[in-house]
């Protein structure tokens, strides 16, 4: 059955990750931390970095870990390569971007493995970017444009568009999510259509996104987007949304620890709102 995170074998990059040992993180000023039994650390699972990590996807992992730790919340990280079982007991699963062939391989292996689907059934948070976004849907376009089955975790279907969308994107997030304007970079040729229950993550201001004026999609605790940049680096409120789904309401971060990220965010948004 499931392989526990504690026993999880680390990939060929070795246990080079990222800092702090797992320890119960007392929330600042006694704020609630990860309600429920067991460890208080948030368990981050990076799915298949050997196949799906093409556009700095490590940044999303590092930023989730950083923003949790800055609040005194412990983080435990598993990088799961495509020759390993996907653990089912993670809290947040990250899937990144990839080229066409690796994307097909990743989808095939994830379907055979079943771990991600089981985690989704448990209500784990899944955050998927670009190729990963397409994979968690029902279908996507393969290397020759042919339909390839995805994991059907999210009711979306993607196919090959006419031309590649490459460049900076800005998009206004569904107000229900309470996330600030998105800034990111897209590089894909996908067109994505949503089923009736799936909502678009955002409305595109500049860029291509899903191809119909929307960008990304969400349902329950699953979020998909075409944006890298990496997107959680440039959009800390989106990172915090994912963390809050696991840990509950989050205390504020010391502004000195956020200056640079907010400056970067401001620069990227300003660059897009300049003379068009």
């Amino acid at each position: 059955m499931s392989e526990g995170l504690g026993r999880h074998r680390l990939g060929p990059r070795g246990p080079q990750i990222i800092g702090a040992p797992v320890r119960p993180g007392p929330g600042l000023s006694g704020a609630p931390v990860r309600p429920g039994p067991g460890s208080a650390a948030i368990r981050l699972v990076w799915v298949y970095p050997d196949l799906l990590s093409t556009y700095g996807d490590r940044g999303n992992l590092l930023m989730l870990a950083r923003r949790a730790r800055l609040r005194g919340i412990g983080v435990e990280i598993a990088e799961v390569n495509s020759d390993q079982r996907v653990p089912v007991d993670g809290d947040i699963y990250l899937l990144g971007g990839g080229e066409d062939l690796p994307q097909v391989l990743a989808a095939r292996r994830l379907r055979a493995d079943g771990g991600l689907a089981a985690a989704a059934d448990r209500g784990a948070v899944i955050f998927a970017v670009c190729a990963g976004y397409q994979i968690i849907g029902a279908e996507f376009g393969g290397p020759e444009g042919e339909p390839v089955p995805g994991l059907s975790l999210l009711d979306i279907r993607s196919s090959r568009g006419e031309r590649r969308g490459v460049g900076e994107v800005t998009a206004d997030v569904d107000p229900a999510l309470g996330v600030e304007r998105l800034t990111g970079f897209e590089n894909h040729q996908g067109v994505t259509r949503r089923g009736p229950d799936v909502k678009p993550l955002a409305a595109v201001l500049t860029g291509v996104g899903n191809g119909d004026g929307t960008e990304g999609a969400y349902y329950g605790r699953m979020v998909g987007t075409y944006l890298h940049g990496p997107v959680l680096v440039r959009n800390p409120s989106l990172a915090d949304l994912l963390l809050s789904w696991v840990a509950g309401p989050l205390p504020a971060i010391d502004p000195r620890q956020e200056d640079l990220v907010l400056q970067l965010r401001g620069e990227r948004l300003a660059a897009q709102s300049g003379p068009a």
Binding site: D83, E99, V166
Partner: protein, 421 residues
């Protein structure tokens, strides 16, 4: 080369090709005089417009060596040129990295009497340039992610290389057996010299390019557990600071150029020289003497500080550049831009592991210094943001400083420092 030189290859070209190279050459001179670039491309562009098959015509009758790969093209081209220079023949080469068709045309047109041509080629253009030049030797160095917003996907590139090399009727491939994508790309070529040139960056070759299974690695060796694809047997080996030639003899690689990546480039150059009958002892002396390549690795004095400039354009290049940094306390200036030649997307910064800079004096500049600063902050590397190279020199108070910059940031720093050569 002037048209008054003795019986020249140019006169064996058809009239329109002669006109095309002459007009192109004049445009190149005009471009240099106007101070716009080194003039190597504009002449080729005009020549090609007049005569689209100009490259084939110019390559005809010459022994052409094409050098391609994500990193090391310009340096390896230079090292091969140095090694073959010991033959005493004239060699045509695009030594300053103009590596698409117009750059190749310009390099050949400039040296009409050269029977040898050492040409670096952009990865995407290699198949077309191979067909146009009927190259005698194709050198494949490495393949990794690079400016993904405008470059082809690398698995796709490897497929195109493989098809082009399988279709090439003659000629030899000299390929890095330690890079699984390169080895697969060369796997159907008729004649291959395999070089164990090393691979520092593994993040684009965790999986088998043939079947997609997770590759197994065992020290230097790699193999696929699910299909027959594996590291081919090698005849040249880079082993630390030495090269082992096909006879098993070890030679110290005492290069002026720094770093593992350049030792790797040098071994490849020695293997190429061998194809042309230049033995290791003869080639080595020339290869060792190469000091600076198109401004890279140059030491420049600035206000009492000796700056060493390292160019790094992509994650694999940054990894190699971080490897060759002088040890602390030498401060490090990092400069990142995101203009079109750099790639507009800075996501790649997150593919580089900066943690080894912890505890060093680090300065950050460039048009995307904030992106870089956020990246360093996440890796818990302390740094200072500066407005440019002079501010860095003033802030560092050090007799020397290491500079790593990506493409346009590197050119900007060279311009500030008054180097345009």
């Amino acid at each position: 080369m002037s048209t008054s030189s003795p019986p020249s290859r140019r006169f064996s070209l058809p009239l329109r090709a002669r006109l095309a190279t002459t007009v192109g050459g004049a445009a190149g001179r005009a471009s240099r005089l106007a101070g716009r670039g080194d003039g190597s491309v504009i002449g080729g562009v005009i020549g090609l417009r007049l005569k689209p098959d100009l490259l084939s015509l110019l390559a005809r009758g010459r022994q052409v060596i094409l050098v391609t790969g994500t990193n090391g093209k310009t340096t390896t081209t230079r090292l091969i040129t140095a090694a073959l220079g010991t033959l005493g023949q004239q060699i045509a080469s695009n030594a300053f990295g103009a590596n698409m068709d117009a750059g190749l045309v310009a390099a050949l047109a400039k040296a009409p009497d050269a029977s040898l041509a050492v040409l670096e080629v952009d990865e995407k253009y290699m198949p077309a340039m191979l067909e146009a030049t009927a190259a005698r030797v194709v050198v494949l160095l490495n393949l990794s992610r690079d400016q993904m917003d405008r470059a082809a996907e690398i698995w796709m590139l490897a497929r195109r290389w493989r098809a082009a090399l399988a279709a090439a009727p003659n000629g030899r491939v000299i390929a890095n057996a330690d890079d699984p994508l390169v080895a697969w790309a060369a796997g159907k070529a008729r004649q291959v010299t395999w070089v164990a040139a090393g691979q520092r960056w593994h993040d684009d070759s965790w999986c088998c390019p043939n079947c997609g299974a997770h590759l197994q690695r065992d020290g230097e060796d790699w193999y696929c557990g699910e299909c027959p694809n594996r590291r081919p047997p090698v005849s040249w080996v880079l082993a630390g600071d030495e090269v082992i030639d096909p006879t098993g003899k070890s030679w110290p690689l005492d290069l002026i150029l720094p770093g593992r990546a350049n030792r790797s480039n040098a071994v490849v150059a020695l293997a190429v020289a061998d194809v042309f009958g230049v033995g290791v002892s003869q080639a080595m002396g020339a290869v060792q003497q190469v000091r600076s390549v198109a401004g890279r690795y140059t030491q420049i004095e600035r206000r009492g500080c000796a700056l060493r400039l390292l160019l790094a354009k992509n994650p694999a290049g940054w990894l190699e550049a971080l490897d060759v940094l002088a040890p602390p306390p030498a401060p490090v200036l990092l400069a990142v831009n995101a203009q079109v030649p750099d790639g507009r997307d800075t996501s790649w910064l997150w593919d580089v592991d900066y943690r080894r800079l912890r505890g060093r004096q680090v300065l950050v500049t460039g048009e995307r210094k904030t992106d870089l600063a956020v990246r360093l902050e996440a890796d818990e590397v302390a740094f200072r943001i500066v407005g440019g190279v002079d501010e860095a020199v003033d802030a560092a108070h050090s007799p020397s400083m290491e500079v790593i910059a990506n493409y346009t940031a590197f050119q900007q720093i060279r311009t500030v420092l008054g180097r345009t050569d």
